[in-house]
Amino acid sequence: MFRTVAIIAFIVTFAGIGVHCLVFPVTGERRWGPVHILRRLVCLFALFFIEQKLSPLGVLKKLVFLLALLCFVVLAVTGFYQRLVFGVPISGYFVMVHATFAPVFAICLAVLAVLWARSHRFERSDWPLLQRIIERVTLWKTSTEESVYKSASVVQKITFWVIVFLSLPLILSIVSSMFPLFGTNWQEFLLAAHRWTALVFAVVAIIHIYLVIRAQLKQ
């Protein structure tokens, strides 16, 4: 069940991102010659560098993000590979690598939550349609003043908060199973919760990363 759902979820996610890339290219260019692909790859690679213009906090943000990205890739591979490819639970060296990167990822998530939360706040302008509906229904006149903070796109904000929110059950489900609190039935529930949360988390994280890259490339 989980294996099938997970495979379908990842295929749909990557396919959706692929289609989105083709339909709404970042730079508006629709050319796919070798030179253009290479150029895009170089641009992508350049995103990993730390820009000189960044402040110390900006550098920290980027470093933490890159570390979180690395941890996410490792955790996703070690966590899903055996389950999706062989249909068996994670075991062996995969467990060890998974458990090694997990606390680093948890720290990165906490730091990113602190550093990025403000820029991912929802604002009135994020919901023009909703704003209009509310105004019609309540006859209220909402304020149109712009935020002074540099803001992310709405979908990016949603995915950010979903990631932050899901990270709690993701972490707590596995950590609480390590304490002598829950019996076998609850242990199985916690493992299932960790597995399913990880799947949703991974899909949302992939979308978020895609949006972040798009935003960076646009700049």
């Binding site: 075991s91 467990v95 458990a99 606390p103 906490a110 706040r121 972490i171 609190l181 829950f182 242990q187």
Partner: protein, 643 residues
């Protein structure tokens, strides 16, 4: 017309009823219970076996000669003996019976020749059939019948003309129903004139009767001349020889010459213990009063509460997957899991049978239940850095007379060894390193590599190489003699000089195979399947939950020095040069040593992982809460502004 039809109808009904009764008549009185849980009163006649092997006349106190009662004909009067004889305790000789999970074999030992071989009629991998080591069924019975409830090999008819004559004198070792079912405290299995002694004296016909409180047997069939007839005993030429004779206790025969047997359906644990005792030599001087019994017995259960059978005596062994090998309907529900967890699909609750507590296993990841048996954490002695020497009733003649009580007494059984079972689960095992002289045939097929070494007849080894090996004196403790490479070389040369042997003469000990090369130099080979240790799972004694592995912390097992993975398994060998060597536990688990160490080492950081993860979760929760409150504040503010 109607009257005629009625008569035909009645006749048909009667014939149908009679045929059903005839079928039911195949069962004897005691083959089927009427449902009463009360014990049955056994005031019965005694019947001997006559000289033709059939049912003799009722035994009376005035009979001359006075014969021992036969369980086949006495107990068999009401209980189908042939059905009982197919039970697990008696059916090892039947090749059609699935061997099931490997269990404790009989161990043929001869310290002087450096021999300890696992022997069994069941086809458990790593054991040898008795005839492979030169044991006829009769010799096998004489050696090991002391701890057998009779039947099986004890009743096999010999084809050897010499043995046929001796069989007539000694009789067959019938199933000793009383070994288990006699509720009288006078049942004597192991003392001076008890069952074990009678078996060793070849008093097979007398053994069951001698074991009861009802009779005493003196004399020995072993030393009777071949012309001796126990049914018409003539005075013996030598007055030093005493023929086997039975004396029934006074007043046991009532008016009609019936005798009362204190038969119990629910066999007391002490009866089982005679053959199934274990003594783990944890301390230097382990006494039974210093060690605990199985927690189930302490809780008030008996062995037969779990190990059950019907009249077919096909007793449940109680391991997972037994239902694949056993026809006992309870086999599927007699394991640890089925009582404690009740995992069998059922429309009614089945967990907690016999009052078994349903375990919660808090904090134990479920993967443990896929990779470990219940016994891994709950059974046997608490594992230490080194394995223990272990004694068992059957291997060390416990409970019989003149037992060498030294801890080093052979055979050397080592426990607990945490090894992987064929089902992939790790379980605690007892282990025996085979040591024997054999002949290796160079078979090209790798699949038969384990079968390419056949043990030599122990008598032949004694005669041919005994003198060479006797150079080294055996210690009084019953331990191995300290054999050297020189001894092995000389013994191999002596044995090789016998041209009747087909193949290369080898010696197996401590996991190695020794042989002489073409120049006569002693060589050794490691990894030969025939030299591999024989392991059988430990089921008892079960420790209480509070003493299970992992009850304190994960590091009970997941530490770089945890015995479950890194304990030292002693390599036992008569060769002095091999003494003190050992293997690590993970070598029996198909686990890479680096992986085992790395995994165990990762638990050093487990507390950090928990702290970091919980700390991170707390920060994330705080951020979420903060921004949720901020969002709420925005809504409140907006509403207030509007108001």
């Amino acid at each position: 017309m109607k009257k005629g039809l009625k008569v035909i109808g009645v006749l048909l009904y009667l014939s149908a009823t009679l045929s059903v009764t005839a079928e039911a008549g195949e069962k004897l009185l005691g083959d089927e219970s009427d449902g009463s849980r009360a014990g049955s009163h056994h005031l019965i006649y005694l019947y001997p076996e006559n000289e033709e092997g059939k049912k003799g006349n009722k035994i009376t106190p005035d009979d001359k000669p006075l014969l021992p009662f036969s369980t086949r004909w006495t107990c068999g009067d009401c209980h189908s003996y042939n059905t009982v004889s197919k039970g697990w305790h008696f059916n090892a000789i039947d090749a059609n019976v699935p061997p099931g999970r490997p269990a404790q074999p009989w161990i043929l030992i001869d310290g002087a020749t450096g021999t300890q071989v696992p022997v069994s009629y069941r086809s458990w991998p790593g054991t040898y059939r008795p005839e492979q080591v030169g044991l006829t069924a009769r010799r096998f019975t004489k050696l090991f019948g002391r701890h057998m409830p009779g039947g099986g090999a004890g009743e096999l008819a010999s084809k050897d003309p010499d043995e046929i004559g001796r069989e007539y004198i000694s009789g067959k070792l019938e199933i000793n129903c009383l070994a288990c079912h006699n509720g009288h405290p006078g049942q004597d299995q192991g003392s001076v004139e008890g069952y074990a002694v009678q078996v060793s004296r070849e008093n097979f016909r007398w053994a069951a009767a001698a074991s009861t409180e009802l009779a005493t047997v003196r004399g020995s069939a072993e030393y009777m001349p071949d012309t001796y007839d126990p049914f018409m005993p003539a005075p013996l030429e030598s007055k030093r020889l005493t023929p086997p004779t039975i004396t029934y206790r006074e007043n046991i025969f009532e008016q009609e010459n019936k005798v009362f047997f204190n038969i119990v359906r629910k066999v007391p644990a002490e009866r089982c213990y005679f053959c199934h005792s274990n003594s783990y030599l944890v301390e230097k001087e382990t006494e039974k009063w210093t060690s605990e019994e199985d927690v189930h017995l302490t809780a008030g259960l008996t062995c037969v509460d779990c190990h059950r059978n019907g009249i077919d005596h096909n007793i449940t062994r109680g391991y997972e997957g037994e239902n694949c090998a056993s026809t006992n309907p309870l086999a599927a529900t007699s394991s640890c899991r089925s009582c404690h967890l009740g995992e069998k699909p059922s429309s009614i609750p089945v967990a907690g049978r016999l009052g078994a507590p349903v375990p919660k296993h808090p904090g134990i990841p479920p993967v443990h239940f896929d990779k470990l048996t219940c016994t891994a954490c709950h059974s046997g002695p608490w594992p230490a850095q080194n394995t223990y020497l272990t004694k068992t009733s059957r291997a060390h003649r416990l409970g019989t007379i003149n037992v060498n009580k030294s801890p080093e007494m052979l055979p050397h059984i080592i426990a607990p060894v945490f090894a992987k079972q064929p089902d992939g689960k790790i379980a605690p095992h007892k282990l025996l390193w085979p040591a024997f002289w054999g002949v290796m045939k160079n078979l090209p097929d790798k699949n038969t590599a384990g079968q390419n070494v056949t043990p030599l007849d122990i008598e032949f080894v004694r005669q041919t190489a005994g003198e060479v090996l006797a150079e080294e004196k055996r210690p009084t403790s019953g331990d191995w003699p300290a054999l050297t490479a020189e001894h092995i070389t000389k013994a191999l040369k002596s044995l090789s000089s016998d041209k009747s042997l087909e193949g290369k003469v080898v010696y197996i000990a401590g996991g190695k195979l020794y042989f002489l090369d073409e120049t006569g130099k002693l060589c050794q080979e490691e990894g030969n399947p025939a030299a591999q240790p024989y392991l059988w799972p430990i089921a008892h004694d079960v420790r209480p939950a509070a003493q299970a592995l992992g009850v304190r912390y994960c590091t009970d097992c997941h530490a770089t020095d945890a015995p479950l993975f890194f304990g030292a398994v002693a390599i036992d060998s008569p060769l002095a040069s091999q003494r003190g060597s050992f293997k690590k536990m993970f070598e029996f688990q198909d686990i890479n040593s680096r992986y085992a160490w790395a995994f165990a080492f990762s638990f050093v950081f487990r507390p950090w992982l928990k702290v970091i993860a919980l700390g991170s979760a707390a920060i994330i929760a705080a951020v979420l809460l903060l921004y949720a409150l901020k969002a709420l504040a925005s809504v409140v503010k907006a509403l207030a502004e509007r108001d």
